[in-house]
Symmetry: C2
Subunit: 388 residues, 2 copies
């Protein structure tokens, strides 16, 4: 285990009807709030109305920014910053999935910064403050509701970049599993994949003696194996939605990664894909992740795959190590396919046209790709070719 | 899973040399601090000197309260409250194990209350504030470094009572595994038992579909099975000390219990024992816990023991459910004995003299004993008799 500092300040209100906590939370810190939403599903399924009722109970005036895109765009962030300044907003309430929350975070930091908010993503400048952010989560996937990360895409240059800052950790998040009932099968499945790959990025690590983090990671993965197929088949199964929702938050709030050197190669590669092609992040991960595993599996790394195979997939200990490792990778791919996710780039109409460019861009944007195994441009191209 | 609110605001500084974080943390919120310590071990092993160096670097004046007892006494809490008021202290730094931290918490809340601090433990009055508390942990056991609980004993009436309050959650905690190197084998083992029984109190529950919490709980227990014997045999094994230390904090910070109806019968019974006999809390738990398991095991509860036996102890699934359950209980008892803990009350010179009184006192103090199975006075007496 390596040294770490951990601070998880977000208050979680988990369960049916927890939207009622908004009243007290807003009263603590808001005089005027910006409500950020996405493409309109929260208006169709009643979540938005429930939120507005609570905001009104708190007697907090609000203004609204709707239409945040699935891979949230910088131009929407600019729009939100302008709105906050014009309307003297002092807090933000994001109602939606990870994209809406990520946009809200970038807006919250941008309002407090005199320069261009894109500086945080491209220069060595960190947010020096942010408006307080509350979230009402409607899609289990990114974990953004309980961490300080945000991913924004600049549309003209097709760059999708991530930052993290303690100022961007939400002050509170409402996690009502019923609010995810109307998410369709495809996005539900993509969310489960995103959650699992978040765990992989932290689990597959060279850090030794991180047993606490590793056993917790395996526990979260086992929950995904049990409930992933159920949330896809039975969208209104409360227990399944609840377990996936809570797993999504814990998968990326620090509990399974703090104390370890994390990897994040799969995300780096997928970000290049979805910056150019605008495919769903979870679908991209489902395609890339098993091929990343194949690329990094070696005599040196096989031990971690053996843990994964035995403790998560229940593969018999008696088998040969390499056999366990390969079986665990095959089972991962099969599981993603069972959820209804694509397994190849062809299925999402992506050719090898930009492979070289994406590999180079990934290394340019992230500095180093991979810490479990450091990937070269060649490695990345090979992973993409395996994914065809 | 049941509805819950979770807020874990404590900043953790984990690892070798993290004592250096004290300087920044104190500067954030302290003008004068009270340093609380126990029986003197921190002065012999250098931890106290290291802390003082950082307090001096922060340029924060301090006063000192030493001599907090292993089961911290109300009279020490009174002494600390007087000292804080006399010296105009605005923050508390606890340097020690759970007892020192618990005393610091009661002092922190007592300073902000005009009445008798014991009211919080005996009347329907909750703390309405507390001085900010920092901790430097030197013994892995109670988890007090990352939660809002405190347990105080009133010496004349032999009452050992617990309270919890959000105001009592430490603002920061320094967890340096090296600071636990000099803890002797007995107290190290008692700490491991305490950690494991904390997990049991949350794991053995009637709440259904709490898979996230349950898989995390099993993960923490597996870490204890691996590293418990090592910390006892090799007190200076960093990896073992680190894993046990972090497990101890996570075992009782809400991550494995929030969303579940918890039990706490074993603790209720042990508190009565250690209020009268002043035995080590961990030793009392090691004796009572397996006998509590025997008492609550039934056709209705066997499923949870089957999970425990298979997922934690690796018992073969193919066996009969009751056989798995009984084997898991036997293995628990054997494991505590392997660590060097007593398995019977006789070994710690406790007879059946006060069994009836302890059973009645437990029910008086806690209202209801047990939620996995609600225990009657008879059940408690029977558990104690089984423990003889």
């Amino acid at each position: 285990m390596i040294n770490f500092a951990q601070h998880i300040p977000t208050t979680i209100h988990f369960g049916k009807g927890q939207v009622r906590a908004i009243e007290v939370e807003l009263k603590k810190r808001a005089k005027k709030t910006l409500i950020v939403t996405g493409g309109g599903s929260v208006k169709r399924n009643g979540v938005f109305d429930a939120v507005i009722r609570e905001v009104k109970k708190a007697n907090i005036p609000y203004t609204e920014l709707s239409g945040i895109e699935p891979n949230p765009r910088l131009k929407s962030v600019y729009k939100g910053i302008d709105l906050c300044r014009k309307e003297s907003v002092d807090s933000i309430l994001a109602v939606g999935g990870g994209s809406v929350i990520d946009a809200a975070k970038a807006i919250a930091a941008g309002v407090k910064y005199d320069g261009d908010v894109w500086d945080f993503f491209t220069k060595d400048i960190s947010p020096n403050g942010a408006l307080p952010i509350g979230t009402v989560l409607t899609l289990s996937a990114t974990g953004s509701e309980m961490n300080g990360n945000t991913v924004i895409t600049k549309e003209d240059t097709k760059r999708k970049l991530a930052i993290g800052s303690p100022f961007l950790k939400p002050t509170f998040s409402i996690l009502d599993p019923e609010y995810t009932y109307t998410v369709n099968r495809y996005h539900t499945a993509a969310g489960v994949v995103d959650i699992m790959v978040h765990v992989f990025e932290q689990y597959f690590s060279k850090t030794t003696a991180s047993d606490v983090q590793d056993r917790l990671a395996e526990g979260l993965l086992k929950v995904c194996l049990k409930y992933g197929p159920i949330v896809c088949e039975k969208p209104r199964d409360y227990d399944a939605r609840a377990n996936i929702m809570w797993t999504g938050s814990l998968a990326l709030n620090g509990v399974v990664g703090d104390g370890k050197k994390e990897d994040w190669a799969t995300h780096a590669i997928e970000h290049e894909l979805s910056a150019i092609y605008d495919i769903s992040h979870g679908a991209g991960l489902a395609i890339v992740s098993p091929n990343w595993m194949k690329n990094v599996l070696s005599k040196e790394t096989v031990g971690r795959f053996v843990d994964y195979g035995i403790n998560v997939w229940g593969i018999a200990k008696s088998k040969d190590n390499m056999a366990i490792a390969n079986e665990s990778i095959d089972k991962t791919r099969e599981f993603f396919r069972l959820l209804g996710m694509p397994a190849t780039l062809k299925e999402v109409n992506i050719s090898d046209e930009y492979f070289e460019r994406m590999a180079k861009d990934a290394i340019r944007d992230w500095g180093q790709i991979g810490y479990f195994k450091k990937l070269s441009t060649n490695d990345i191209v090979n992973i993409l070719k395996l994914s065809l």
